[in-house]
Symmetry: C2
């Protein structure tokens, strides 16, 4: 019953495990299975390109063969790409090769990219066509040591050269990828993902999203961001089809939804707002007809507002609210919906859906901790820091023991997000720690203010940040985008807020904008607004 | 980043793992999660009894506390119960306590049960009310050393006494349970299940069966059999409701389907035949109306026939065909359905559905091997032995190194089932391992029966083969050669068998012959007898 020493798994498995009953968990296993079970079914659509699962396996094993031949185990392979076949293929080829994937945010500037490539010690950079020039620019900035391979001839040569490669099973808690977070402070940190976490997270996502072999998933969420919340592997696990979208304009999204019969997509609420605003009238009509299944949308980054939920429901779009961070393989939490909630009034349903929820199927419970890392009471009122541990938590930050120790103190990952624990065990965020506005010693929640303002009919989008105030320390300022054709004055909005919240919470200033600064994943870049707000001369008259 | 030595996981996790990013996989985790997320939702219905998830956790932790207090880690706790709350609770309480579960087939005779209890070294036996007398009988037969706790007062005392118990995480590849199987050879073997396999198998089942928080699963498949194909944990993972059925008569099944709004059940084709034959006319009517979701049924043990599939479709019952063995945590394979197959003609669909299929979501690929353990060609014609390895394969047979080494030779579990590999990668069985008789989904070992009959003084030689039976699928038939000068009637032999084995195993017919057909080397040519047995008209009266 012992493992034969010639077995490659002998050195990988813990001593007590047996090769016949132990296979390391790795997300590439889902492609191996799909290539057997769904071999002639469509894995991937990218413009004109249509690739079956058998072909996706053949291509990624070929690329892996070339990668494995040119370097040692653990080589860093970075990818600079939009939501394209190149980026999806890298999710399989790089780990097949025993290499470590470094997905890059293509909206970063050359100095930021250079920093990440240098810090991760990447030796190879894969680029899609549209980002080839940028890739070369970064390589030049690094002054050598980084080989660039661009989609097309060079890339296809690698695919062809490695044909017939057979990968070795990885160590399941070994390093899978480095995901650099665009931390709001200082240098980006390299979040270390492991195979086991990605495998289990993908299983959880496949189940929660109800992905099936007939599913057609539209890539609007960037694949470079937490590996697209691990849907890069979850869709494959289910045997569904990945539909890539290199440019995520709402019109292109609607065109793809129609032409590719999309069943699922993931997007931040900001993108969903644009999607709802540009829906073809046809869609609303069709959505109301019987027998048309809803499009399942997972959203995160900010809670969906009641208004947005109502608009999407009219389009036949069913929203699941997820919550997570790069450090937790994306969605560690889900606002898990209970069948009996369907019968509640719309407003109550929206309030329940705005909560970040509970640990996902494979996650450990979310906790909300006070300053001494003790659980706060589950009263829906006491604010604490959200923390979690478990199989979908990072190994640590690459070569940054100080940040690692700080984030993982006490064996728990501290998210930096502030929230409350409701009596029913669901967590609701109140704010990022840094987004709380401390006015005269009182905490004012920017999220709460944003929800109040978003419920005004003229408001399309809003972000609230603190501005320095000589008397109160900080006071809230609202940055508002109005709906096209609508108007509202600061006084109107202020009256609206004061009907809903304590007077001291109402913003001191309203700044009207055509659009808000956003990250690639659609999150409002609040630090930009905070910087702007610093320049405001807030009135010294009593605000509270 | 090292694991603090005070952390209980320090000794459990492999050295390279970190407690913040590593939690041992164990199926009890699904109850911990359900008790948080679905706390007030119904976990369990058993007659009048209705238990929420919070209550199920409280009760099983209490029982676990009592179990942990009375014995060491790794104690064997056997369970003799129908599909009842007692048996479901044991699936959580026993592993919570760090003990090893031994589920018993309640149809076995006292000597068989005694053998299993002795072999497994069980010290405690939990019984449901209806099997209390049998439990006491077995304990008496063992002559001490086995404590019996019966549903009701004694059981509730254990539940209450251990309240507040907090379980320790197990070693994930450690022993979870011993599942005794009456395979092809005489004595039952104790199949060793591990936590990791049960966890992953439950996740796969939850996904394949499309279990959801609103699911209501009817327990017709025995929970003692491969832990009910791991649905004892999968339904909990999904947050669905377990509906227990202590007696699985078709009328009771239909009554439960109606009164408990059942969405899912598992059953062998033999039981499905009875279910189809006794459907209330109301059901067929309702099933044809729009908007009524189908009842999802998973079946295994034998392929569903086209007639059965057609009858079930008319009742709004959607069938998934699974395949597995006790050694593979139940369904290691699934006939995974592809959306495009829906458009095929009914006969073709039935032929596709009759195949055992492909490895499930978390399983490794099924293989079909020739005598030298090389893969047979995927031509749909070459017959070989089905074999598999992976995370849902047993550790081995308890204290039976010989049988373990034979079954796991070359690091692969050899199923003893013969099949072909189709060109599309789906496996189809051609023959059960030739000596096993599958009666009503239960394995009856011909070798075991032959041994029992051969022990009768008048029997010279005997061979047992299956004969087709309209209700049970197969029933055993014994071909007997009497000793010269001796005589015995069928009734005598039957009484002899029933003294030694469970009643359901006793042959339905005894054919007396002067000699048995043999090969040149003296082996009984069983296929000749099987052919003869096909012509027998077995009585339709209940055999079991």
């Amino acid at each position: 019953m012992s493992v034969p020493s010639g077995d490659p798994r002998a050195r990988l498995a813990a001593p007590h495990t047996l090769s016949h009953s132990f296979e390391p968990l790795t997300p590439t296993a889902f492609l191996r299975r799909a290539a057997r079970v769904h071999r002639d079914r469509l894995a991937l659509v990218d413009g004109e390109r249509r690739i079956t699962y058998a072909e996706l396996e053949r291509r990624t094993l070929g690329l892996a063969g070339s990668l494995a031949a040119r370097a040692e185990q653990g080589e860093r392979v970075a990818v600079l790409a939009t939501n394209s076949s190149v980026l999806l293929e890298a999710h399989y080829a790089v780990p097949f090769a025993g290499a470590v994937m470094v997905p890059l945010n293509h909206r970063l500037a050359v100095p930021e990219l250079s920093y990440i490539l240098e810090h991760s010690r990447a030796t190879l950079l894969l680029c899609d066509e549209g980002l080839a020039a940028r890739g070369e620019e970064v390589a030049a900035a690094l002054g050598g040591g980084l080989e660039v391979v661009v989609e097309g001839e060079g890339y296809e040569q690698l695919v062809a050269a490695g044909e017939g490669f057979e990968p070795e099973p990885p160590q399941e808690t070994g390093l899978l990828s480095l995901n650099y977070t665009s931390g709001t402070t200082g240098r980006p940190k390299g979040v270390m993902y492991h195979h086991r976490g990605a495998y289990l997270q993908a299983l959880a996502m496949a189940w929660h999203a109800r992905l099936e072999p007939g599913s057609r998933f539209l890539w609007t969420l960037p694949m470079f961001h937490c590996h697209g919340w691990c849907f890069t592997w979850a869709v494959t696990a289910a045997g569904g089809t990945h539909v890539c979208l290199r440019e995520t304009q709402p019109k292109a999204i609607w065109a793809a939804i129609e032409s590719e019969s999309i069943t699922h997509l993931n997007a931040a609420p900001t993108l969903l707002l644009s999607i709802a605003a540009t829906a073809p009238s046809l869609v609303a009509h069709r959505a109301t007809s019987e027998g048309v299944p809803p499009i399942r949308v997972a959203t995160g980054g900010a809670p969906p507002t009641p208004t947005l939920l109502a608009e999407l429901a009219e389009l036949g779009i069913e929203v699941t609210h997820l919550y997570g961070l790069t450090e937790t393989f994306g969605p560690v939490a889900i606002c898990e919906w209970k069948p009996e909630w369907d019968a509640l009034p719309g407003e109550r349903r929206a309030a329940l859906k705005a909560r970040q929820g509970v640990g996902n199927l494979i996650a450990e419970p979310l906790r909300v901790l006070d300053a001494e890392d003790a659980d706060v009471p589950a009263d829906g009122e006491t604010v604490g820091e959200v923390a979690v541990r478990g199989n979908d938590v990072m190994l640590g930050y690459y070569e940054d023991p100080e940040a690692t120790n700080a984030a993982l103190r006490g064996g728990l990952f501290h998210t930096g997000d502030l929230g409350v624990m409701h009596p029913d065990g669901y967590v609701e965020l109140r704010d990022r720690a840094k987004d709380v506005i401390v006015s005269g010693g009182e905490n004012v929640s920017s999220v709460e203010l944003e929800a109040a303002l978003a419920s005004h009919p003229a408001v399309f989008e809003v972000a609230v940040v603190p501005a320095p105030h000589p008397r109160w320390g900080e006071r809230p300022v609202a940055y508002v985008v109005l709906r096209p054709g609508q108007s509202a004055a600061a006084e109107d909005l202020n009256a609206h807020v004061r009907e809903r919240l304590a007077g001291f919470k109402a913003p001191d200033a309203y700044e009207f904008r055509a659009e808000l600064p956003k990250t690639a994943t659609g999150k409002v870049r609040k630090f930009v607004l905070r910087d702007e707000a610093k320049a405001l001369q807030l009135d010294q008259s009593p605000s509270c």
